[in-house]
């Protein structure tokens, strides 16, 4: 069993939901990312999504676009990112998901990457622009290494597509709360519950919901419907607001605890 699968099982026994923050690797630098992973764990993260910066993040809103730009300006490379992961792995057992557009992974070479990701302590991959239609080979390589492959399901996904997504996914399924790019929203879309129900009809995997979640009330609301909740832009914005602040990690930790409803 992977760390992701163990985590969801453990949470299920405790009747708790997974709280899954997203941060961009190397935003603003890898040392900060290292500190943030540890801080997020202390602040109640159950799983962390680590985003690979990309020059053309077409599924992301402005907040995560700017995070990518900061990381790339500061000389991010996937090799350095994995090295940081292997260091932080010595200090935490938290499941870590590599969240990326396909091209940076493809350029690295997926066979080598899957192996090195596993060695450094990554537990799963989520590739935003990899449709299940194109996923046969990459998912084979990922699963061969004993890692999870997480796929997105969207409100526009048909039953037929959800069935395929369920077949390719392991660890959990990521339900996109609404049509659109990543970013904060004032209210939770009414499309969430029907989508989660439709996924459950095709899969016994845990379902985490993300996109647009930025307040404690929304985190609670999603927790009543799904097995996990992903918060990205709100946390990345908290990083952005504290750039240059020597207490950046603590501030992001405070914000994360507030979001989770514990602080």
């Amino acid at each position: 069993m992977t760390r992701i699968q163990e985590k969801f099982q453990e949470l299920k026994h405790r009747k708790q939901k997974a709280f899954i923050p997203y941060i961009t690797l190397g935003d603003p630098d890898l040392e900060t990312t290292h500190q943030l992973v540890l801080e997020l764990e202390k602040s109640g993260a159950d799983i962390i999504e680590l985003g690979v910066p990309f020059s053309d993040p077409l599924a992301d809103g402005p907040v995560i676009q700017r995070a990518s730009e900061r990381a790339l300006r500061n000389g991010f490379s996937l090799k350095k990112g994995l090295k940081m992961v292997s260091e932080v792995r010595k200090q935490t057992a938290l499941p870590l998901v590599l969240f990326s557009y396909y091209n940076p992974l493809f350029a690295y070479g997926l066979p080598a990457l899957a192996k090195e990701a596993r060695a450094s302590g990554i537990d799963g991959f989520l590739i935003t622009d990899l449709s299940v239609e194109e996923a046969q080979v990459p998912v084979g390589l990922i699963k061969e290494m004993g890692l999870d492959a997480v796929f997105l399901a969207a409100p526009t996904s048909t039953e037929e597509r959800i069935e395929k997504i369920a077949r390719f996914s392991s660890g959990f399924i990521y339900a996109v709360s609404r049509t659109g790019v990543t970013g904060m929203q004032k209210s939770i879309s009414e499309e969430v519950r029907p989508l989660v129900d439709r996924i459950r009809a095709h899969s016994t995997l845990p379902v985490a919901v993300g996109f647009g979640i930025s307040e404690p009330g929304q985190v609670q609301q999603i927790g009543r419907v799904a097995d996990g909740v992903v918060v990205g832009s709100a946390i990345v914005r908290s990083i952005e607001e504290n750039l240059g602040n020597p207490h950046l990690t603590e501030r992001v930790g405070d914000f994360t605890r507030w979001l989770k409803g514990g602080g």
Partner: protein
């Protein structure tokens, strides 16, 4: 000799050999399936084809002439050069062929709102034009840098009733305009039609745009047979995304004796970031929905590009081109900014035809190749657009900064 089985290209998932396919966020996957179904239905509907034919003829002015450029040919002292006059289309470029087709399709699909990206502004203008004609709401995404280079086209789009969104992210050119258009589409996908301007992005766009542009080659084939009694020896076209070139080449792909050269933008140097020659410095990768040749860093970050012509200034190229390149069916070469400018001047002076800077790249390649071919040989250049939009850019270059 390769045997191209055109009926099997692309496969059901939009693959041209290893290239193409669908690489978009899940939210867009079913909408792409719907688009494909709607397109296939329209393609086989005689009423749709009749309406498209009527608009191409009565609105855009097709067929465009195939013109023998006698003075230009004599000046070069080699092959006979014909120009396929796509610049004589309504709105001044080949882009309208695709916009009329997709505009009618949007209408059939019941979408009231159309969005598009534009580089040089030609596709934006053609989209805005067709939306005015068909009573569709129109919003265009354009990079800040391109808006500066093509100020007049921005005003033309506004005049036609379109809203133009300034894109200030990344390199502020075509690639960033496409990112922004996709972000809009993924948000408003249920009621918005994305009218993509080239043979790029996910299936079915590369095949659909090719089909709408292939009228160029169908006409050229008939015309050259009527005017010369035989097929040409060589076809030349510039390649940005690759729609005007595949439009001309497609009907000749099975004619093994017809050579084809796609001309990319050599920009101002060979270093990454200084040009847009994907087949001369790029490698296969995934950008904006498709797998094709991409100018990128070792790390898989997309490179900036440069060309004097905004329409060729893009980091990737249509997947069908990638496949035809690997097969060796089409040869790809690059012409730099200076050579394109020289061709721009020469064709203007010898034929009274001011070519778009994009098309001037293909004209420049003919200046290299024609002298080496015998006098009996025939070249067809796709003159994809007229140069009025570029007059200001060129005048600034001539008079110095």
């Amino acid at each position: 000799m390769i045997n191209l089985n055109l009926d099997q290209l692309p496969d059901a998932q939009g693959h041209f050999g290893p290239y193409g396919g669908k690489f978009v966020p899940e939210t867009l996957m079913h909408p792409l399936e719907e688009l494909e179904q709607a397109y296939l239905k329209a393609k086989n509907d005689p009423a749709f084809q009749a309406e498209l034919d009527r608009l191409l003829r009565e609105y855009s002015g097709r067929p465009t002439p195939l013109f023998f450029a006698q003075r230009f040919s004599e000046h070069l002292g080699g092959a006979k050069i014909y120009l396929k006059r796509e610049d004589l289309n309504h709105t001044g470029a080949h882009k309208i062929n695709n916009c009329l087709g997709q505009g009618l399709l949007a209408k059939r699909m019941g979408k009231k709102r159309v969005i598009a990206e534009t580089g040089a502004g030609q596709h934006g203008v053609a989209t805005a034009t067709v939306c005015a004609l068909l009573n569709l709401d129109c919003e265009i995404y354009m990079g800040e840098e391109d808006m500066r280079r093509q100020e007049l086209n921005v005003f033309r789009m506004q005049l036609l009733g379109a809203k133009v969104h300034r894109v200030s992210s990344g390199s502020r050119t075509l690639k960033d305009a496409i990112n922004e258009a996709i972000r809009d589409w993924v948000t408003n996908v249920r009621h918005t039609y994305y009218l993509l301007g080239s043979v790029l992005s996910s299936h079915p766009y590369p095949v659909m745009v090719r089909d709408f542009q292939s009228i160029i080659g169908r006409e050229a084939r008939e015309q050259v047979l009527a005017q010369e009694g035989r097929l040409p020896d060589l076809l030349l076209a510039c390649v940005g995304g690759g729609s005007n070139s595949i439009g001309l080449f497609y009907s000749f792909l099975k004619d093994q004796n017809v050579a084809m050269v796609g001309v990319e933008a050599g920009g101002r140097g060979k270093a990454l970031g200084e040009h847009a020659a994907r087949f001369n410095g790029g490698k296969p990768g995934i950008l904006q929905g498709t797998y094709s040749y991409v100018l990128q860093t070792e790390e898989g970050q997309i490179a900036n590009t440069h060309s004097i012509s905004a329409g060729l200034d893009y980091a990737s190229v249509g997947p069908e081109h990638a496949y035809l390149h690997d097969l060796g069916r089409i040869r790809y070469t690059a012409v730099d900014d200076g050579q394109a400018l020289e061709a721009f001047h020469l064709l203007s002076q010898l034929e009274g035809i001011i070519p778009a800077l994009e098309s001037a790249h293909a004209v420049a390649e003919s200046m290299r190749l024609a002298p080496g071919l015998g006098r009996g040989r025939i070249i067809i250049i796709n003159l994809s657009g007229r140069g009025d939009k570029d007059v200001q850019t060129v005048s600034q270059l001539v008079s110095g900064p």
